[in-house]
Symmetry: C2
Subunit: 217 residues, 2 copies
DNA sequence: TAGATTGTTAATCGATTAACAATC
DNA sequence: TAGATTGTTAATCGATTAACAATC
């Protein structure tokens, strides 16, 4: 029953396969070879086959992959075949943006509550979901069996609240704050989205591209 | 004048170094060794020294690194020592969240305009920035020398508008739409933030952690 | 000077690509 | 059966870590 650990690089690519297969599905494409898919996605066919074979043989020699089947299998691997109870902590613009993003619910991520420290927001609703005060968090998490919390609040609040969330049962944190939340127990999943760091990568690449062009002259 | 190409992995780590150094700076720490920093950041000291030495020798034997100097140098490398003119295309929740995020302007990313296809938003303002209609984009980009466009609108709109942005002078796209914008000229920088893919990685890891725990029983 | 710590070379590790036998 | 394409092993490539001479 040995299961080799799957590398992070592979996990990161799975959602992208899932997206492309979803598109093919919409276009009513029934089957696809690793070679065709590799051209669409701009990766090597070898990498696709290696990646998929981490999880089992989903293809058929001489035929390729059945799009619908592979789409569902990857969805299952990613854990999209079940539902999750989720909260959003921080009801600012970004928190509200996430709350309004209906597609998450389609994928099984149910937003059960939105929380903030600002008493002026108390009782307001976003897409029918009430904004509550953060002191209600422990009770709410336990009562509603919340597994996932999105943190869309400043660093200090995130660092303060994260341990409380975890103590009360939160298993995974989708972290938008400018911190790595390193103090949490290591069985807690932290998936961070650092928007400003993404923008810095963009500016690095932009400057680098400009330098390259200057050098060509 | 040979410059070896810096790997993507290194570029991705730079903003994180920058963030930690910024924190140290706030705490008035003057110098730090690669070893101390490595413990804070949970990486190897060797990696830090290798990463930095891609860009030059910023340290001093027997002393370590001067925090302020290194912070500024990494900022310079990332292109944070200049200003950029930026627009946001898509005035939904996410677009407004970005527009309201004041810290971007502190780093030199100036938001010059917000655009949408929805005529009902016309003339409204977000943090003093007027929402304009997308047919004004070509003129506006040229008039305001826009280099960066954040795309916070659905896939179809993003794919339709991106080439128009580029034609009129946009050099880099910060892409939040569910597409890779592969059709663009290869000298255009595309930095994508795929939120739903991030959430899928989270759910993979959450399920995987649960499976691991079950196995331990 | 002695101690500390970098910058850099060498060794190791892991991930990607290539090749091809297996098989539909 | 012949052709196509996978699954998988082997080869290559690149990134990370270890080691240590250089030097502050």
């Amino acid at each position: 029953m040995e299961e080799r650990e799957i590398s992070k690089a592979v996990i990161k690519r799975l959602p992208r396969y899932y997206r492309y297969l979803g598109n093919l599905l919409e276009e009513k494409v029934e089957r696809i070879s690793s070679n065709e898919l590799s051209e669409m996605m701009n990766v090597t066919a070898s990498q696709i086959r290696q990646d998929l074979n981490n999880f089992g043989g989903f293809g058929q020699q001489g035929y390729g992959y059945n799009v619908k089947y592979l789409y569902n299998e990857i969805g299952r691997i990613l854990g999209l075949d079940r539902v999750y109870n989720m909260i959003i902590v921080g009801a600012g613009n970004l928190g509200q943006a996430l709350a309004n993003y209906v597609k998450f619910e389609k994928r099984g991520f149910w937003i059960k509550g939105i929380f903030d420290v600002n008493p002026r927001l108390k009782g307001m609703t976003v897409r029918g979901i009430e904004i509550r005060m953060t002191d209600e968090l422990p009770q709410f998490i336990r009562d509603n069996q919340i597994q996932i919390a999105a943190l869309t609040l400043p660093k200090s609040g995130a660092e303060e609240l994260a341990p409380i969330l975890v103590e009360n049962g939160v298993k995974a944190i989708w972290n938008f704050a400018h911190t790595d939340l390193q103090q949490l127990p290591k069985d807690v999943i932290v998936e961070s989205v650092h928007l400003s760091e993404s923008l810095m990568q963009l500016s690095y690449n932009l400057n680098h591209m400009e330098l390259e062009k200057e050098r060509e002259l």
